[in-house]
Amino acid sequence: MTVGALFRGLKEYLTGGRLRLILLLLLLLLAAFTLYLDITIRAQFEGKRWALPARVYARPLELYPGAKLTPEQLAAELTLLRYHQVAAPEEPGSYRRAGEEFELLTRPFLFWDGTQNVLRLRVELDAGRVHKLRDHKTGAAVNLARLDPLLIGSIYPAHNEDRVLVRLKEVPQDIVNGLVAVEDRKFFSHHGVDPRGMARAAVTMLRGGAVQGGSTLTQQLVKNFYLSSDRTLRRKFTEILMALLLESHYGKEEILETYVNEIYLGQDGNRAVHGFGLASHFYFGQPLPRLTLAQSALLVALVKGPSHYDPRRFPQRALERRNLVLAELHRREFISPRQLAAARAEPLGVTTKPPSGASPYPAFLDLVHRQLRRDYDEDDLRSEGLQIFTTLDPQAQRAAEHALTRRLAELERARAMPAHTLEGSVVVTSAQHGEVQAVVGGRDTLFEGFNRALDAQRPIGSLIKPAVYLAALERPDSYTLATPLDDSRLVWKERGIKDWEPNNYDMEFHGRVALHTALANSYNVATARLGLELGVPQVMETVQRLGVEREFPTYASSLLGTSELAPIEVAQMYQTLASGGFRSPLRAIREILTVDGKPLQRYPLAVEQAVEPAPAYLLTTALQGVVREGTGQGLRQYVAPAVGVAGKTGTTGDLRDSWFAGYTGDRLAVVWVGADDNRPVQLTGSTGALVVWGDMMAQLDPEPLALPPPETIERVWIDPKTGRRAAKDCQGAVELPFIRGSAPKENAPCATAAPVRSWFKGLFGE
């Protein structure tokens, strides 16, 4: 059989209907495939195009006359925000400082309540406060202004793709021209593919050249967007088809805008840098519209291979490629010879270190993330580009980090412990609103792992005692601050449990002691006996009322804090005391905006009265006594007594955990110090955590704690020896607050003589 016969046979077979049928089937298949691609493309292009990370911001610094702010604090804040210090501020984000006077131009920013445009402010500080705030141009007084908030972290999409979306009109023309000149000369005229370009590329390839080029920007976009990176003929065919489809549905500008946001331009650890918007920040620390010609050319140069031409690792290679882009720009007459020469002479201009994509405050971010997960899907958090405004106060955070790292190292040295034996954590909140201002999860403040502030549950020891005393003070008929408690040997027998015999820290008994003194000195036995009188379940109910959600067992030993809490839970409990008996859920988030700046959700300030004002007031007075004359006395080295700090030390068995929880007029803070492996660290609450707490608060210039006494409170002089009424000038008499009618009725011996003496005093005009 000849070849001719074979052909004839085939021809006969395919005559008539058969050939047409097969052709029709093929055509149908192609049409179906095209339709499928078309649907895919349009769905992706018109629906959500990118997974955008959520951006998390610190609180904005509020400027207003009277605001507490030192020049150092303002300078530190401006440095954090990367404001440039210059001689004559002209650009948003720049400032001039002359002693206590600042002139600054704020960056425009979209807040929850609308946009704040660029403000040109003159800030005069004096005596640690904003003295005057004025518009620099007109000299008019300004009531209130905000700096733009510090970006403290991002919650990245699944593949750690990071990008900053830009509109085409924000993209420098040099970049658009560069892309056209280097990547796709016919972009504005072709229909998605460039046959001549492809032919050129094919010839190069056949001649043994590199496999490259020939793809239009549209094809590159399709490749990035929809396809895997394997190089097969079938994929190439799909790519061409999709590029044609894309061009038939969308305009050049839309395609280009998508391209500049999609293209991969660098890598930072496991974070992938996508789009020119982020690349501009990543390489130059500048927003895209402000790039120079040379900088724009470098970004275009990177399209070909961000790691091969990485300007930080291979500056020479990057420079050559940039200059090639510049030369192409010139050849296509986009730039003049003079522009070319000037741009070629410029250095690369990249910042030495990329702005890190990792948060400087991972422990705080962890808290934010957890609070978000209560209300949002993890997928949405990682893809919707939400803008999250938090309560983080960078000044408080810095003070907490400094105090913890510095003091732990010092404690180790002073006690000849091996370095890094100690660990610790800190939580700081605003006293009246329950906003979390700082979270330190450990000594390595940049560590993203174990967060001791949220997850290290430890026995709280004496930190539980305020709940015992509060439960007592809520029964003014039976207990007052002056009520004598019995601090003598106690053996508690309960069926099924070993006898319980609590000891004091000094291993002594103190006999009859006034209730406020027993708390100030943290006497275990007196407290245990008091708690047993009140009933362990009643005390544990008080603990829960203060905001602890965990249920504690009602064993007698629970009265001395054998139960475990994480520092953040302790903060919630003490928050209720700090705000005068009003419980507010601790909040790390204020507001959430959508990607385009529309208000999405607010986390409002909520308060609930958990304790009557009068017993809350009495307890705070007693906790101030802890610091004035009890186990918290050491604080006086750090914080002036006039601040009137209320606080409590906590120490657990064998000196494993050292706690301090306390509050001032404006802040509440909880500090834990211990070892990760739970070995004894030989620190009490006073020698460990208190030192960190004091150091931190000293940096924050605390507001005095001065609660106005509720109406039902009266002050009465008491003779500490008998616990009875005394006169002001009785020896050793103390003035204590009482709920009206609850003060002791009987007079101490000295009290009867006293009025006579004061009457004489009055008579002789003393």
């Binding site: 006359p65 609103h433 906003e435 507001e591 409002p604 308060v607 009265q609 004002p613 609660l707």
Partner: protein, 135 residues
């Protein structure tokens, strides 16, 4: 003649100033707080209660011990249909009210209204009695 005219104007100003202070004392001596409360009231009147609350919370961050601000927020929560919050916030306002009986009485009346809205008539009556006692 000039001098007399000056004195006349001074007198008028003094009178006006007197009227202003007698009418309603400013909610704060900080311009920032006054401005925020103005914003909050305007937003509240326009039905934008969320924005109003945000402005008041911002004011409270500046002056957490100002009882009048806690009361403003209590009033707003009542308007937002959150009597429980309104009651707590009014009570909170009272803890900072010190010797300001007028404010305390007003807060007790607010608490009474909040309790009525929650159907607690006995509690409302008790609150009104408290308001009477503050006179």
């Amino acid at each position: 003649m000039m001098r007399y005219r000056h004195r006349l104007w001074l007198g008028v100003f003094a009178l006006l100033a007197g009227c202003v202070t007698v009418g309603e004392p400013p909610i704060s001596d900080k311009g920032a707080v006054v401005a925020l409360v103005d914003t909050a009231r305007a937003d509240g009147a326009a039905g934008k209660t969320d924005s109003a609350a945000a402005a008041l919370e911002r004011a409270l961050r500046i002056e957490p011990q100002n009882p009048a601000l806690w009361r403003e927020l209590a009033l707003l929560r009542l308007r937002q249909g959150e009597p429980q919050q309104a009651e707590s916030l009014a009570a909170k306002s009272n803890t900072w009210a010190g010797s300001n009986k007028k404010l305390r009485a007003a807060n007790w009346r607010l608490i009474a209204q909040a309790r009525r809205e929650r159907g607690d008539d006995a509690g409302a009556r008790a609150a009104l009695e408290k308001a009477e006692q503050e006179r």
